[in-house]
Amino acid sequence: MNQDGTDHGALSEARTSAQARTALLLRLTGAVGVPVIALAAAFGVGALFIAAIGQDPGYVYAKLFRGTFGDFYGFGQVLFKATPLIFSGLAVALAFKAGLFNIGAEGQLYVGGFCVAWVGFTLTGLPGLVLVPLCVLAGALGGAAWGIIPGYLKARFGTHEVINTIMLNFIAIALTGYLVTNVYIVPETIHTPRIAPQAEIPRLEQFWPVFKGSPVNVSLFLALAVAALVYLFLWRTKHGFELRAVGLNPWAAEYGGVNVASGIVTAMALSGALAGLVGVDFVLGYKYYYEQGFSAGIGFMGIAVALLGRNHPLGVVLAALLFGALSYGGLVINSVVPKELVEILQAIVIVAVIVGTNLFGALAVSLKKRSLE
């Protein structure tokens, strides 16, 4: 009897560890396989578009690759394009982890960007060492303020954050448009006055001349540091654990003693703050003023970056690099095919990722079922 029991134990233990291994393998395959297949699908369909206008897809793709990862100048441009996407991707990913779909990063980064500039051109008497951190803080706070609104509306009235964030995007654009054209006016332009010179942050070309000509600046390091912080927050702190619990199952979280309403507001505030940091890159590191319409979809692209990066900070950084490469790559190939090709590619990547994730999820479930039988 005893002997039998032990055997059963060992058997089930072996089975559990085999199952755990299969589960891990499945997760890794999903995390790597789905994006790779999505990319292949996008480039495949993109080839049809290229061929349709009488160009050679192989030549165009080779040109795209050489122009982005082929030399330091191109790579600098890719990093420049990737920096804001890291912020907006992290913003969307953090909200996703809390079960919230933040389509409002676009509006949050406009408000945040304006706040960065406002501090930069208002508190001009402060030394750079004080002013720069204040500008960064202002960007985060501005974005957070805009993120709290849909968070509060959801927590208090139960209204869906998707519709509210879409609406708030347009309100943010109108509001900042009003500020730029009616209050902080620079005649004949749609941008604010220039920030104080000591608030400008250095470009990487000042340290590494190989990046000469690329506006990539030290906010890239801020983006990477913030990515690490988001990882530590979500997976290594109690608050982060609670946010993920709200995302996985709000009822269970509530039952377990988590205040779901405050979790929702906190997650939206943090998500907005991350989006607001996009302004640091653009205002402090690139143009040195806030310009209406500067984002042109960085907030929306953050959704794609988060999806492709599987809502993990490391994945977000890699996906931002990829989307940054595509968006600069569009300019590289523009002489041969219209640069809008990359928008088509990006859209196909997004669709392929969501379809692939679903198909893979269904496959994983059926495999798991079979292994249990």
Partner: protein
């Protein structure tokens, strides 16, 4: 106040509201069936482009309108396949389609018309001037263009279809409680496809209006109208009549904004009206708007 100004204002409001109304009423079909359709913006754009393209090549605006509807349905079909057949995230699919439409129309604008901003000039719809009717203010506006008249008919027909026909009942049941509908023999997949494709056809028609009204396709000419239509559908509580009412209201705000241009009132605050109204209605500050129960939820049949 001069009566002429009021009449001009109302006529302008009606004309502005046409694309909003067509897209918003279309969206009620999609969402009543349980599929969130943020792709309206992209459908409007593709519809407008298809319209300009067909009219450019055939010289026949009616074929242009037909092409717009076909283009709209084709775009909506992508959304339907991705969200209904593959059960993928509906909002993301809609956003991706909007990105795709913006990229693809500009891509082909450059390739076909050799311009990054606009197509060549296309023939517009015939301007109607029906005896007697043309002398009655506002009525004359409604009967001045086949597309305006079509929009009015669409609103009435959609209200009847959704609430007075078997098809409408089935569509709504699929959006409220797909399991129950399924158990009664309603084909959930087919009904949802019908809802999404209907929204594609109507938003495509809205795109035709945009292209015809400007006698050309211009880059990004939907300029957020799809999102305003979405807002109108919510403010209109997912009803065609309500949606049309909201569209007229938003159209009036836009018309007012044009009148006030250059005045002392900052136009940006008038621009905000539709969006603020939507948030307020959803939160229950002004009435209360509740979406269909299964809106946005893919239907997964139990497997045994």
């Amino acid at each position: 106040m001069d009566w002429m100004i009021v009449i001009t204002f109302i006529a302008q409001t009606i004309r502005i509201s046409v694309p909003y109304t067509l897209a918003a009423v279309g969206a009620t079909f999609s969402e009543r069936g349980g599929v969130v359709n943020i792709a309206l913006e992209g459908i409007l754009l593709n519809g407008a482009f298809a319209c300009a393209l067909a009219t450019h090549y055939t010289g026949n605006p009616w074929l242009g309108v037909l092409a717009a509807v076909v283009g709209g349905v084709a775009t909506a079909l992508i959304h339907a396949v991705v969200t209904i057949t593959f059960k993928a995230e509906q909002i993301v699919s809609g956003l991706a389609i909007n990105l795709f439409a913006a990229g693809a129309t500009r891509f082909f604008l450059k390739v076909i018309f050799g311009s990054s901003s606009n197509s060549g000039r296309i023939a517009g719809m015939p301007e109607w001037a029906i005896p007697v009717l043309r002398d009655i203010p506002i009525v004359s506006t409604i009967f001045s263009s086949p597309l305006i008249l079509a929009a009015v008919v669409v609103v009435a027909a959609s209200q009847l279809t959704l609430f007075k026909t078997v098809f409408g009942l089935r569509l709504r049941s699929v959006g409220e409680h797909p399991e129950a509908a399924d158990s009664l023999g309603v084909n959930v997949t087919a009904m949802r496809y019908a809802g999404v494709l209907a929204s594609g056809a109507l938003a495509g028609l809205g795109g035709a209006w945009l292209a015809m009204d400007q006698h050309s396709f211009t880059d990004g000419m939907s300029s957020g109208r799809g999102y305003i239509a979405l807002a109108a559908m919510i403010v209109g509580k997912w009803n065609p009549l309500g949606a049309a009412g909201a569209c007229l209201l938003f159209g009036a705000a836009e018309s007012l904004q044009m009148q006030l241009q250059g005045g002392n009132v900052p136009t940006q605050f008038i621009q905000m009206i539709p969006y603020v109204a939507t948030i307020a209605v959803l939160a229950g500050f002004i009435g209360r708007s509740v979406p269909p129960a299964a809106d946005g939820v893919p239907y997964q049949k139990e497997r045994h």
